[in-house]
Amino acid sequence: MDIRLLQAVPSDTERAAVDAVLGAPASGWDGGVRVNARDSHLAYGGRAMRERRHELVPALQALQARVGWISEGGLGYVCERLQVPPAEAWGVATFYALLATSPRPRRMLHVCDDVGCRDNGGREVEAALVAAGGPAVAHEPSGTHMQLDANTPAWMHSPCLGLCDQAPAVLVTDAGDPAVERLIGRVTADVARALLAGAAPGADALANTVVPQVGDPSLVLLQRVGVVDPTSLTAYRNAGGYAALGRALQLGAEGVIAEVTASRLVGRGGAAFPTGRKWEAVRTQRATPHYLICNADESEPGTFKDRVLLTGDPFAIVEAMTIAAFATGCEHGFVYLRAEYPLANERLQGAITQARAAGLLGENILGQPFRFDIEIRRGAGAYICGEETALFESIEGKRGEPRSKPPFPVQSGVFGKPTLVNNVETLANVLPIVLHGGAAFAAIGTTQSTGTRLFCLSGAVERPGVYEAPFGTSLKALLKTAGASPRMRAVLLGGAAGTFLPAADTDFPLSLEGARAAETTLGSGVVMVFDDSQDLEAAVLRIAAFFRDESCGQCVPCRVGTVRQEEALHRLARGKTRGGAEAEFALLEEIGVAMRDASICGLGQTAYAAVESAVKRLQLFQGGAV
């Protein structure tokens, strides 16, 4: 392409960081040194070069990780290497919250101020950081804000880091070679101050992943978490690992899909689509290749179950993906992993490497004519990329803007090819289904909701963490097991896209049909408990801010609606209503309905759900009533 390259020159460090991801330049025409004999009469480019576009985000991430931000020289070098127009690369870089496009210190603290942390120690951490290092970074310095020095750590707010069971949470990123990333839980004011002063971060909060029910023999999905060494393939195999893959290869692709269909497993990512039907749809697509994507972009505030599976039992996910690939004819798999989970990345990468070395990935898996491999793609700070079509765009090296459906991913997904997307938890269910049969799986749970489900208990509970329970277990019982506060006022069920339930409305079975009857949703399994020590209105405002922040901005209802919703809530919260609270409630309803009906994707469609329940069920914001 006849792109106009940037004039700024990359530093040697930036060049090296990018080359480490992209490989050395092939010629003087894509960022290498001009060699007359090779380059003066011949150049290759065109389609072959354009097909490398998907490497854009990894290359930008490499710059971010190495120097802490993406300079003009660095951006320009990536553009030259991949022949991506600078304006496009800029559009991508500025889309993702964890890619900085102006100078940042090598160390940044990303401090969770989301619903799970802010009232559970987060505010104290923030106060300590403000006192020690000034306000959070909120605008690029070219605006009006602050000049940042490379050697003076700074901090900024972050949406939910997926560590609500160990609130408050901080993600520490130290740019360098190697870059260091640590997700730290139960951060105290002292720890925060020390980190801001440059102290070495301790071990990742999850190095020893445990779950409250550890050792419970009824556990299915969590049976190995905290029990079997997640860094050892041998340990995994000794614990029965890879038996399911062996069985799957015996069953054959159609046999596997028959079992999955018989299990009546439905997707755990939120939409509850029958997994067997999805697999069959991908398997029978004529277009090739087929792609498999494990959606590990868990970013729904209050959700951390996938993190527990990925750090506590990574081989299970690799094995389950291999089975899914076998059944649906995929040769290439991606795990799209949220950026905020460095340990999950490490564990999963370790599992993939060991599996590959053992012939469990790659060519001729288990001696069969079956080829499959897995590549991890890390998010870069965008909740919307958990939406499957936005995820495709992100993998393709673009802004994470959802696509219009149809066409559906099974027909036209990543790179325009048939694509199977399954959530981490959904895939985890595949192993017991294949091992014990679909019928046995379907015997668990209720008639309409089969199997077990993971729930993320956090907030005002004594024993926060991920719980596994058969569908149909009552919410009340689950809250009791986790030790919910006796002063519980409300539960946020299903995440920011879910609903607030008053304490009195928590006695119903946790199943798809039970939730529907209770006019709520299980969503991503969030069960966040609020008692009287917490500010529910502030939580609702935070959720409204979250949707505004995370809207990709593509469609009008969501881009503007999330702003108008947040503005109305702030007017209510501050007693500055336009025409009284009832008028504001009516306006919120109008905005919410338009977002739900007319937005492109699930983000806008659910952006009013929690707000609506807060107003209608919890009767919040009545203070603004005249």
Binding site: E140, I384, P557
Partner: protein, 326 residues
Amino acid sequence: MTTTLISIERPTRAPKKPLAFTIDGRAVTVEEGTTILAACRTIGIEIPTLCFLETLRPVNACRLCVVEVEGARVLAPSCSRTAEAGMVVYTKSARVIHARRLVLEFLASSVDLSTTPGMAELLAEYDCKPERYGPPKPHALAGERDAAIAGHHAAPDPDFAATVGQPVMVDNDLYVRDYAKCVLCYKCVEACGADHQNSFAIAVAGRGFNARISTEMAVPLPDSACVYCGNCIAVCPTGALMAKPEFDMRAAGSWNIEAQTTTDTICPYCGVGCTLSLHVQDNTIVKATSPLENSITLGNLCVKGRFGWQYVQPGPSADSATTRDG
């Protein structure tokens, strides 16, 4: 009768199957692959659009064209959703009207739509009250919106409704960018990008309400990859992008569409033969466009055709032709 060795004609595609469905209770039969919007137009049902253009890939961003499809959970963008056999579509249901009204209000309360053709009528038709979201916030400073960090924003000011207001960008002699008028329809990005020009001088940067059309690092156009084809201006639905003569004449109050004639001719430059529509006011060319439906240009031109006609304007350069009247 002669025979040919092989088929030399354009390969014929399998004829598209007809399919029948219902719009507002009326039976419609269209070819497979027809969008709901196109089907509506064949039977005279008007659907408002903003981000849709026949010559661009639909981006489904504005959501003004949504319709209700019976049985669907949410509304569908008629500009890109293709009709299916048996589909039952409503273009004026209460849900549709509500969504369109709110979309229009969202835009009118956050964007300057004063130069969007037909917008005043549309706002009236849908009974929009954009003022109910509060008085518009004063314009941002130059560069302020460009400095936003994705995923972060300042808490709302309860006294104002947020807008995309910001100063006009005048950084070259050929055209002006007034992003206070930008509805983020993506048309300019598509026209500059893969749909037509493939120069990729602009893209959408940032996200959410701070999403904006930007060059790399928000540099001025002359420092960008812009080649001044003006194909972005040609597709801009709101006047956010405007050729300098029109911008200046509007500012001076001398822009008068009623006094303009439009004549189609052929560009005087290379041998491609692009149709130029010359908009002439007082014997002066004030704008050059090309018809969207023209098979050669699809509405596009290059910098020479779009702007390179100064030499025939009344003034000193043309007068020189008469200095030696033979």
